[in-house]
Symmetry: C2
Subunit: 349 residues, 2 copies
């Protein structure tokens, strides 16, 4: 399989190196041959050639079976007056590859419940996936700026809503058959369209799946007060961005969480949900688990290697069971990126 690796910025290269080591170990154990192709994206690509998504990178991704990404962005490229931004590279890549469904599973591990700001009794048994629409909405609408004011347009078409809701319902069929669609239909026209389409798709195509609607503000509460009651959550791009970062607190640290961005083809983009964390970059203390679990999602969704994916997940689980935690989770000894990766690798070999 051809796999493109995009380390990106900040702690991106560190966690990506860990993920690549895990991918190689899986290849060795199960005798798969993974061809890895590393390319530049984000701030690193701006530094190298002035473009956050160089043509060579995009071409490689179009050719790949899967793409593994670290993180992009950082203060170095965030000047208010900056003409190009690292984030544009990531957004353009998601769009160019047609990856409209961003899956973000949250399944707190028993060993890390203690680190979550949420009370443990609310967390046991939590097992949810947010399906965030990823190539539409206010992220991609027209943006204007004239001296005195600025604007961003949020737009959704029926087709854009249909396909992501469908994906969420299909996922729910493999799970507990419950979908929560999140919008702000009491205020936004795009949300009213969203709600209508979601209702129709679920009714006509997934009569065996239960659909409920929640307003985004209520959802920000319910995610905390009754997280166990959610199975699949589907929502638009911006709401998904906010709610998944919030939901990451259910797991104790966003450093633990992976994501898969999928479209109609088998190819996907896999990245931890955390950012480039410039404050801790280069110190060898970044948590590689989110990136490593992204490898598991890559194996499962783009390569069809479910057993291998399960092996990675079990190796991570065993590592956490052993109390090997990075700084944001640790009470006593904090393990560095290498130590955690080594522990995971040991469980795989």
């Amino acid at each position: 399989a051809e796999i493109v690796v995009l380390p990106g910025d900040g702690i991106g290269p560190e966690v990506t190196a860990a993920a690549v080591a895990v991918l190689r170990a899986v290849g060795q154990r199960y005798r798969h041959h993974f061809n890895l192709h590393e390319h530049a994206i984000g701030g690193a690509a701006i530094d190298a050639c002035g473009d956050p998504l160089p043509e060579k990178t995009l071409a490689a991704c179009h050719y790949a079976d899967a793409v593994l990404l670290g993180a992009v962005g950082g203060p170095k490229w965030s000047d208010p007056g900056a003409k190009v931004r690292p984030e544009q590279g990531l957004l353009a890549l998601r769009k160019a590859m047609g990856l409209y469904a961003n899956l973000r599973p949250v399944q707190p591990h028993p060993a890390t419940l203690g680190a979550a700001p949420i009370k443990p009794h609310l967390l046991s048994g939590v097992d949810l996936v947010v399906v965030r629409e990823l190539t539409g909405g206010i992220y991609f609408g027209d943006k204007t700026r004239d001296g005195g004011s600025a604007s961003d347009v949020c737009r959704y078409s029926v087709g854009e809503v249909e396909r992501v809701v469908r994906r969420a319902c299909e996922l729910a069929r493999e799970r507990r058959r419950h979908v929560t669609s999140v919008d702000k239909a009491n205020v936004l026209e795009t949300s009213r369209l969203w709600r209508e389409v979601a209702t129709r798709v679920a009714r006509d195509e997934f009569p065996d799946v239960t659909l409920e609607h929640q307003l985004v503000d209520s959802m920000a509460m319910h995610l905390l007060s009754r997280p166990r009651s959610f199975d699949v959550i589907v929502t638009e791009n911006m709401f998904g961005d906010i709610l998944t970062d919030e939901a990451s607190m259910l797991a104790g640290s966003m450093g633990l969480l992976p994501s898969a961005s999928l479209g109609d083809e088998r190819v996907g983009l896999y990245e931890p949900i955390h950012g480039s964390a410039p404050d801790i970059a280069g110190r060898g203390i970044a948590n590689p688990i989110g990136a490593i679990l992204s490898v598991a999602m890559l194996l499962r969704h783009s390569l069809g290697l479910a057993m291998e994916a399960g092996c990675v997940e079990q190796a991570v689980s065993a590592t956490l069971d052993d109390g090997i935690f990075s700084a944001e989770l640790a009470h006593g000894h904090a393990a560095g990126t290498r130590e955690i990766t080594a522990a995971v690798l040991e469980h795989i070999a």
Copy 2:
């Protein structure tokens, strides 16, 4: 003082009745004369005259010293095809009165920490206020719908950002002199404008106040992982809507939280942050504390009666200390709306 009372829908009338009883008790104890004028808004107004903000209601508000509101909305008026919605009445009122700054304080009471989904040790000492921009952004931008797609425009002008940031900085001066401005400047043009203006206003006009910037997704995490580190949080309309509902979980129940919507004049609109909760309407179990604390904010901000406001706040605090809780907070006996109100009144008289 002339005070307009807008009970609205669902539990709105129940909690408003409690708030009015408290207002009358304060008037009696401190010998103030409050003239109360009740008017229709929201779904109740649609039912009465087809308009969620009748002219008579708006005229009364324009004339008033302060407006006390319950809540609007409910399934009865939420048909996808509905031409008028209860929420439009509230949004139009906020806009017409120029109430651009919505203050939502969150100060968990020791007695209700146990009911919060957040671990108690994170909550002690939490004392923050969200200043939510209330008359701009995607709530009020153009909305379009043509069969196949829908759009909402988010727009902010320099002036709109300046005035609400100024209000937040002024508030911070009376507190711990720390302002966190929340945006999504790595993606949205309106957020980049927001960040530039916030930076300039703080630097030029409030050198004694510390301003930090947070991305909205990170903020959704930090609110939970380190709530004590925030003092004043200022953000745009939609982000504020989501983050305040999330922040309400720090207090144990959104039923406890008040809000004040202010503009350049002294007049303000005061409402609990909870919604109309149609599922429990008419059962006498709604928590009136959010509405009652809104009366305290009204006394302080629109009538300049700080001592009286403090009296209401202490009465609420004493009631909670006595373990008199509504259902969503109670472990044992759940007190109804009347019982809670009676307890508060007893502490005032």
